[in-house]
Subunit: 220 residues, 2 copies
Amino acid sequence: MPKNRNISMAVIRRLPKYNRCLRDLLDKEIYRISSKELSGILGFTASQIRQDLNNFGGFGQQGYGYNVEELHHEIQKILGLTKDYNAVVIGVGNLGQAIANHTNFEKHGFKILAMFDINPTLIGLQIRGTPVYDMKELAEFINENKIEIGVITTPKEVAQSVAEELVEAGIKGIWNFAPVDLKVPEDVVVEDVHLNESLFIMSYLIKEQEMLKSLGDQED
Amino acid sequence: MPKNRNISMAVIRRLPKYNRCLRDLLDKEIYRISSKELSGILGFTASQIRQDLNNFGGFGQQGYGYNVEELHHEIQKILGLTKDYNAVVIGVGNLGQAIANHTNFEKHGFKILAMFDINPTLIGLQIRGTPVYDMKELAEFINENKIEIGVITTPKEVAQSVAEELVEAGIKGIWNFAPVDLKVPEDVVVEDVHLNESLFIMSYLIKEQEMLKSLGDQED
DNA sequence: TCAGAATTTTAAAACGACGTGACAAATAAT
DNA sequence: ATTATTTGTCACGTCGTTTTAAAATTCTGA
């Protein structure tokens, strides 16, 4: 029975980690686990794990721990992974194609039904089974095929206007790979994958590590 | 003059946003900005922006604000973007190819010199200018070409062993796209891009949004 | 089978990190 | 010279994590 009293984003961002960890455990045919053992695997404190899980209900049992199968199922439910999602990709560049062809997403219930672009040489093609349509057909396709998720892999210059088209067509979530902060109504979910930012942060951390190292050398 | 007293990760993750924002301002030929104006653009509070920037030095001037050009340059320095990085991609799948071909990274000083795989049909090919070599040559290539960054786009099963090879060869940072938590020595930087997790979080948020909406309908 | 010890979760309290608000000091504008 | 603007900084409040104490269950050995 979910308690569901305003879960913080910090907790939500850990849920997929729990999910993956539990699936790995099932693969290894481990059917019972304590927060302490999970802590060893995940690197979070046992206490945090217990508190995280307790946000959604008392899935554990004192003196026993957690039933892996049950907990995995619960987290799948919490994450909304027990249903399928239909998606489209906007922008048939390298990244767009890679995502459309990435079979892994389909395994988890995310089906990419079509790609859209404005480039006439691409429109009409099938890229490994996924058709490429004209942007003009986007709204109609979304409505007719119950598309819930739009993936934006366009150049940054057009990302906002694409987002607006998607919103207009009634999309529920936008998976945004363009390096811009999209402005959408608050009932539309945006999840950003900012590769540049990720790379820059790595750059910072490498630089910092170098500094630490050269400092250590001096002090020896 | 950087103060650099243990900057928190929360601050670091905002730095690329400042960087992008400032570049956009320069494009618009805006050379002066206050924290209040930045706040309007970025959505952070003016107070947070001032405090963030102050971690690294007093870049602003009272009564005036910040010089966009200077601030941009400072943040580039902080992020370590004033130098170039050599990188290799391990795993010539859809994603690996997309990243190797993504010209955007090169613009920011990240040069992908080669890709590596174990698939004999790929080895020896050039994929849009980037050569594909045998994994056996990885360590040698890293040493000879001063490679600092390794990008892992392999299947998850081999990601850890690839990481170990990279570490052994003296890599400084790993940009990891495989859905595993890599174990590396603490002087090696790992920056994860977990696409599955990002997608699952979106799934959660969509589900939650739907719940909110149906709740709202009832209460009307 | 039963009692006691060990394990482990739950819940609450303490602690710490982070973000916000307020104010003094400095500069710019008039 | 005076007023308006704006940063730098510190104090406070909020949010997130860790510690602690209590309760429930399992495990052990006779």
